[in-house]
Amino acid sequence: MEKLPLMKATDIHKWYGKIHAVNGVSFTINRGEILGLIGDNGAGKSSLLKVLSGYHHQDKGEIFIEGEKVKITSPADARALGIETVYQERALVDSMSLARNFYMGREPVGRAGFLNKRKMAECIDVLKKIGLSINSPNYLVSNLSGGQRQGVAIGRAMYFKAKLVLLDEPAASLSVKEVHRVLDLVMEFKEANISVIFITHNLQHVYDIADRFLVLENGEKVKDIEKDATSVEELTKAVMGEINA
């Protein structure tokens, strides 16, 4: 028997004024699957991501999670549904401490609604498990490197038991070594049966780890293919818009 996909999106449309940023994209993603969402700049990847993460509501189309139709109208909705987004630039607030960032929007509270600071210190242990050892929960995150910041955001998604993690260009502006760290962390999601949509314009970053690829061009889906059935060359051509030409 065919199991229900974790998420199914059908005929998603998004307009910004007269620009048709996402044009009738449909896709599914299964549990523990890593989906590479690729396309050139302006292909509609970010717009699709913004719809899934609740930043913008789609103008048309439906989203189902485990067979149930859902309405995602705000980032808070998306988080409540188990969709966690790891943004490249916006992952953390620089001027705040590690613990305050880690629990942002989901702060644990104890008696009379006061923050449970002991619980908030646990983020240190969570990060240690994924190989990021920081000695104080009060550490200012502006002192962390790009890769470490991604690590914190990824640890946060794991800790809060996300079902689906959206990674927005996670490898951009990282050193080569740090890219490998982040890719290792993404594989940990897979082991934990968490689904990942990995958004990038750089096929090299995602080819090794992805199970399937979705290629967008001018807001439309031009390819939806298992890794076993394709090759780097074919995908590159699709991204360059040379497919079916």
């Binding site: 993460s53 808070a76 943004y87 942002m104």
Partner: protein, 333 residues
């Protein structure tokens, strides 16, 4: 930070003393306050430490401080309010007018506070819903609210002699508890409440997040508009409270009441280490900043240097402190 070959473990050591002692700014400003006390003790030949003088100073500290802590929370959230002087005057006017019409002053105070919340909320609503910089919005309402006051009063002062009819009210707002002026007790209470909210409540975490990086805060599911509007409303309420305090202390409402308080409150916030870009600042810093401003004002007057020196000295102090804050910020990184 150590960059050894760290395939698995990234070990971060906190070597920098500036990032370890989070309260370094407060300590420096506290030192400045102590220094001012010592200097003025000698230049005023001890007058400044007479009970009468201290009372006057602490009433002034309380009135400016209540606005300064409110404006600090708003600046941390990434916004700005120039209209607090006008809101404060509007609160005073509402209380005085209602009292003149025969309303119980306690009830008049409650209504004045609600008016403060509404006017602050209007600033916030226009700012977040129409995406106009709060500097512009509150510049307009600073002028507009004050204009409304002139329209209502036509410039004629309104008496507020609660001391004759309701001595309990005056005691409650501007009396003395033993040797301590009641306004100072209000400042202490409000300071403790805001410190608890900003440091130990979810809302406080969201205020810092919204001011630090609005887009990140939104992505983390925080309703950024709501947070900002609540900060505007809190400031509006505190401003109105100060307005009513002042009118019951001086016993008469004048249309110019509260003019100039916004810039002084912002100065207190800045001296206390609040960054105008948002996301960074403390309530305790704002109280200390208020102390610095008031001590300079009264210290110079009581030293016989003359009131004209005050603005010059204050301006210089603000510049020095801000440069110092920048140095600390650089060292932190």
């Amino acid at each position: 930070m150590n960059k050894q070959n760290s395939q698995e473990i990234v070990n971060i050591k906190n070597k920098n003393v500036f990032s370890r002692i989070g309260a370094v700014r407060e300590i420096i400003i506290f030192g400045l306050v102590v220094a001012l006390f010592i200097v003025f003790f000698f230049t005023t030949k001890g007058i400044m430490f007479s009970q009468e003088a201290l009372k006057i100073i602490f009433v002034a500290v309380s009135e400016l401080g209540l606005v300064a802590i409110g404006i600090t929370m708003l600046i941390i959230s990434g916004e700005f309010d120039l209209s607090v002087g006008s809101i404060s005057a509007m609160g005073a006017l509402v209380a005085a007018k209602l009292y003149q019409l025969g309303l119980n002053p306690f009830l008049a105070l409650v209504i004045a506070l609600i008016v403060g919340i509404v006017l602050g909320g209007f600033n916030g609503f226009i700012t977040v819903k129409f995406n106009v910089p709060s500097f512009i919005v509150t510049l307009a309402t600073m002028i507009g609210y004050r204009g409304l006051i002139y329209v209502i009063t036509e410039g004629i002062p309104i008496g507020f002699r609660v001391v004759d009819t309701h001595p309990a009210f005056r005691k409650f707002l501007t009396g003395e508890l033993g040797v301590i002026p009641v306004p100072f007790i209000w400042l202490v209470i409000a300071t403790i409440i805001l410190i608890l909210i900003l440091n130990f409540r979810r809302f406080g975490n969201h205020v810092y997040a919204v001011g630090g990086n609005k887009e990140t805060a939104r992505a983390m599911g925080i309703n950024t508009d709501k947070i900002k509007i609540i900060c505007f409303m809190t400031l509006g309420m505190l401003s109105a409270l100060v307005g009513v305090m002042r009118v019951s202390r001086v016993r008469s409402f004048h249309s110019l009441q509260g003019e100039g308080i916004a810039l002084l409150a912002i100065a207190a916030a800045v001296i206390g280490g609040t960054l105008l870009k948002g996301g960074v600042g403390t309530i305790l810093g704002a109280v200390l900043g208020t102390l610095v401003i008031i001590l300079i004002e009264y210290g110079l007057i009581m030293s016989g240097v003359g009131a004209y020196m005050y603005n010059l000295v204050l301006g210089a102090v603000i510049i020095v402190v801000v440069i110092l804050n920048n140095v600390i910020e650089q060292r932190r990184k």
